[in-house]
């Protein structure tokens, strides 16, 4: 379905002038000349990725705006493919001689000395369609206005509870322009905007200290913060810290676990998402290799990776190979439907890219990555799910997680959790971790709520040392058994 809000990109004022210069510098003629160098040893695919990004940040600590900063990232990456092989080089200088040298280095991945083919990409690049149209880019907003958000969060934080010892507030935004061209004729310009507001607090009472943090953001208009206020963010950070003061040790061992809606979707990201990235499956190093069409989860589970959700942190107009992002069904009613492909892995596996080729910056070649990964809503009322648990853990929100692709083992920390006793949420717990294997846990999803929610816009995913922004989401759901790591023994049923 076409999103009615989609529109042609309007460049942010912060980068507009520079983009005009860059478009002239790295024009079709230059790209064609670089491609003839890149393919001079008969490589079978050449690609150029030009990036220009501005990253801004301000930090408020101890009632002071500690610093205001701004940075520029600019460069070109050139990739040549030859069968399964990748040659890559980049340059942070845009002088033709330097770019030509990068093209030469990348060309060496192909060893054939026959002259390569001549490429003639279209003289005029297209411009990506924006899926998150924005009137006021955060990058165009004055530092003073952004720091206002932080001062408001700061005031709320200190006023919220007399035991608050520290409030730190942070706002970061970025605006990134890229031009992607390849020897298949792709020649496209794109711009992505991103921002986040984050508040962390330390609370100290009776010699006990706890911390809490919360934040929000995404590919949003600056007016987003009118409705998603810094006061709300600071209040939530305080609430999370104060709850932990009362928290008891988490009960260790296997038990029934209810996942809260929203942030807990990171379980899907770890438990299944990474295992469905095409590179691992082409190399048969994932436990999901060769299992398309097979049942890998309970029939209540439908899992989607969707890069087209307006304003979500993980969304992209096009991926970093110039392909439109899409709504990719990974699991439908428990059956494995597909993997996430970039161009290289799709080509080697005789299929089409799913628009999942992403990279951290021009310093890196792309890999298959997730965008916004979530489970579709089910039919159960959230209250009904909690009520069905006699003794277990309500894992409302998570911190970070990790997965081993080969055996599916994953682990992540519970940042907000409670005991469930006789169908009621009772004492808050601390220091809990969930550990399990992806297929096992997804088989054990026994109830799925009707309350799908996405995270608030802070998630970053790391793979092979490259970090990219992502989104996660889930409705409330119940897992019949999962191992909880904690320090308290003998309480789990």
């Amino acid at each position: 379905m076409k999103n009615p809000k989609q529109a042609v990109i309007r460049y942010a004022s912060a980068v507009n002038d520079k983009i005009e210069v860059l478009k002239q510098t790295i024009n079709a003629d230059i790209v064609n000349r670089l491609f003839s160098v890149a393919l001079s040893r008969n490589g079978d695919f050449a690609e150029l990725y030009l990036e220009y990004a501005i990253n801004n940040a301000i930090a408020l600590e101890e009632n002071k705006l500690r610093q205001a900063q701004s940075g520029v990232i600019m460069g070109v990456g050139i990739r040549v493919l030859s069968g399964e092989k990748t040659g890559y080089a980049y340059s942070d200088s845009l002088e033709f001689e330097h770019l030509k040298r990068a093209a030469e280095i990348a060309s060496h991945i192909a060893q054939n000395n026959q002259p390569g083919k001549t490429i003639n990409i279209n003289a005029k690049p297209s411009t990506a369609i924006s899926i998150s149209p924005i009137d006021l880019y955060p990058a165009d907003v004055a530092v003073k206005e952004k720091s206002n958000l932080l001062w408001r969060a700061n005031e709320t934080g200190y006023a919220a509870d007399k035991h608050i010892k520290q409030v730190n507030a942070y706002f970061a935004d970025s605006i990134k322009f890229c031009r992607v061209a390849n020897s298949n004729g792709v020649f496209v310009d794109n711009q992505e905007s991103l921002c986040r507001l984050k508040v962390s607090v330390v609370v100290e009472k009776d010699n006990l200290r706890q911390s809490g943090y919360y934040g929000n953001g995404g590919r949003v208009d600056f007016s987003f913060f009118d409705n998603n206020t810094p006061e709300d963010v600071a209040g939530e950070a305080v609430r999370l810290a104060v709850i932990k003061l009362e928290a008891i040790d988490a009960p260790a061992g296997p038990q029934e676990v209810v996942l809260g809606n929203g942030w807990a979707g990171v379980l899907l990201h770890e438990a299944i998402g990474h295992g469905l990235e095409a590179d691992f499956n082409r190399k048969k190093t994932s436990l999901y290799s060769g299992r398309i069409g097979r049942k890998v989860a309970s029939e209540l589970c439908t899992v989607i990776d969707d890069g087209t959700i307006p304003n979500q942190r993980g969304s992209l107009n096009i991926d970093d190979e110039g392909t439109k992002t899409g709504r990719n069904v990974l699991i439908e009613n428990g059956i494995l439907k597909g993997y996430l492909y970039d161009y290289l892995n799709a080509r080697l596996m005789n299929t089409k890219t799913t628009g999942s080729g992403r990279r951290e910056s021009f310093h890196n070649y792309p890999m298959p990555r997730m965008t916004n990964t979530f489970m579709m809503a089910g039919k159960s009322e959230p209250e009904e799910i909690i009520k069905s648990v006699k003794k277990g853990l309500y894992a409302k929100s998570f911190g970070s997680g990790q997965v081993d692709i080969s055996n599916g083992q994953f682990v992540f920390e519970v940042v907000e959790g409670y005991l469930i006793e006789d169908g009621k949420i009772t004492a808050p717990v601390k220091g809990a971790n969930l550990i399990g294997s992806g297929p096992q846990v997804l088989e054990r999803v026994v109830m799925v709520g009707n309350d799908l929610k996405f995270d608030s816009g802070l998630a970053t995913c790391g793979k092979n040392g490259q970090a990219v922004p992502v989104g996660v989401g889930t409705p409330t759901c119940k897992i019949s058994e999962i191992t909880v790591g904690g320090t308290s023994l003998g309480k789990a049923s």
Partner: protein, 459 residues
């Protein structure tokens, strides 16, 4: 592949970049900054990967960037860029000063006073590394894979074998007349075997990292260790939940020791956001525990002649016989704590100085790893940790774990799907036996050690 840049050309850069640092600092002062500092990096990186005996990736590039920090009326502004064109840099200086005007006045802001101490050449650069032939690197990767596959027939797949190398030159110059530049190099071998048994996969990993090519472990040594660590995990089971002793192998031990620099970070200390706040001269660990941070180790993997603000680094004791001796400070946090910087400012060009350790390690003890394992009737030999379940504020520790089970002093079966949990305060005090097998493997290193009791959650 192309030949590495000629040395002469690189020396030309040295002089250019030195002049650039000085010019930018001068210009920032002229434009109204009270103090200014440039941190400039110029580096080369190269990466070769093979998989199943074929070259999979080759990557090579040079890159540069600079960060400009200015103080005006005790207010801090910061910018960074990889674009060194003159007009852009002119603008950048202006922007930095404007940004500083937006920040709050803070009496503790400012550059460090230049140190009278001598800056020592720590021998961190090996010119040989840039001369290694691509063909040698490809061959080394192929040899790693062959060694893995020859080790055991259940090792029949791989995420690849890789050789990475590079070097970087750092220039720091500021308006107090300080300028210094230094070079370092690195080379890094690693491989990622995949083993299969009864339709189940196990992945593994091993590496060697060095500043000097001659000190790098051989591809065969790296591959053999990777193969051994992977194969022994085949057929892993999940044992029942128990409280038992845990032996940390050097890799997992280093991960635990690595929590200490974060917990003694002077920034976290003044924010009261660490479990080690208000603990100087108190007993925080078993009396057997001695933890050092040494920035001056000759040829050290994480050594640096000066810190991110240009102060000569030092070799210091963090924990001595179980007592906490110091926090780690940069100039700002030291002033705030009314003490002097421990020269622990760390940064790349794209950030303002933060606080970090250099070569941080737990000093070796008297026991062989076999003696440590031999002391345990029923417990876990930990070889892999997952997730990041450490709360620095409270010290609560809970992470995913796998390894080998110890029965009657012997390693028996592989185990996975576990979590280990405790609190750092207890864990440090419960370090009972420390191994004699300290080897510097990275920025944080540790010998094997035993923690007398932890909660191990399993089936």
């Amino acid at each position: 592949m192309g030949k590495p840049r000629k040395l002469k050309e690189r020396f030309k850069h040295m002089q250019e970049f030195k002049d650039l640092c000085k010019d930018i600092v001068k210009s920032a002062i002229k434009k109204g900054a009270d103090e200014a500092e440039v941190f400039l990096e110029f580096g080369r990186e190269s990466e070769i990967g093979t998989r199943l005996g074929e070259v999979e990736t080759i990557k090579e590039a040079t890159s540069k960037g600079l960060g400009l920090r200015v103080f005006k009326n005790k207010r801090l502004g910061f910018t960074y860029t990889s674009d060194f064109t003159e007009s852009h840099l002119d603008n950048l200086i202006k922007t930095t000063i404007e940004l500083s005007e937006q920040a709050s006045e803070d009496e503790f802001n400012g550059l460090p006073e230049p140190s009278p101490d001598e800056i020592v050449d720590l021998e961190l650069f090996d010119p040989e590394i840039a001369q290694i032939e691509t063909s040698w690197k490809i061959d080394a990767c192929k040899r790693m894979e062959k060694t893995m596959f020859d080790y055991d027939k259940r090792l029949n797949n791989s995420e690849g074998a890789n050789f990475l190398d590079g070097d970087s030159t750092v220039h720091i110059g500021n308006s107090k007349g300080f300028y210094h530049s230094f070079k370092n190099s690195y080379c890094y071998l690693f491989c990622l075997p995949i083993a299969r048994q009864d339709g189940k996969l196990q992945s593994g990993f091993w590496f060697s990292l060095s500043r000097f090519f001659a000190k790098l472990d051989s591809p065969e040594t790296v591959a053999k260790t990777a193969a051994e660590r992977t194969v022994r995990m085949l057929g892993a089971i999940t044992p029942k939940t128990v409280q038992a002793p845990v032996v940390f192998d050097p890799l997992t031990a280093a991960s635990l020791v690595g929590i200490i620099p974060a917990a003694v970070n002077g920034d976290a200390v003044y924010k009261r956001a660490t479990f080690l706040v208000d603990k100087i001269d108190e007993t925080v660990a078993s009396s057997k525990v001695n933890i050092r941070d040494d920035g001056q180790l000759i040829k050290g993997l994480a050594s640096s002649p000066v810190d991110g603000e240009g102060l000569p680094t030092v070799n210091k004791v963090i924990i001595s016989n179980g007592k906490l001796k110091t926090y780690l400070y940069d100039t700002y946090t030291a002033r705030k704590a009314k003490t002097i910087s421990t020269a622990n400012a760390q940064r790349g060009y794209s950030s303002t100085p933060g606080i970090g350790s250099f070569n941080c390690y737990l000093e070796a003890g008297d026991f062989t790893p076999d003696e440590i394992i031999g002391s345990i009737e029923n417990g876990l030999y930990l070889t892999n940790l997952m997730g990041s379940g450490i709360d620095i504020v409270t010290g609560d520790y809970s992470r995913g774990a796998s390894g080998l089970w110890i029965e009657n002093g012997k390693l028996t079966k592989p185990v996975e799907g576990l979590t280990i949990a405790s609190n750092m305060n207890d864990m440090l005090k419960n370090i009972e036996m420390i191994g004699d097998d300290l080897k510097m493997m990275g920025p944080v290193s540790s010998p094997t050690f035993k923690i007398s009791m932890m909660t191990i959650a399993g089936a």
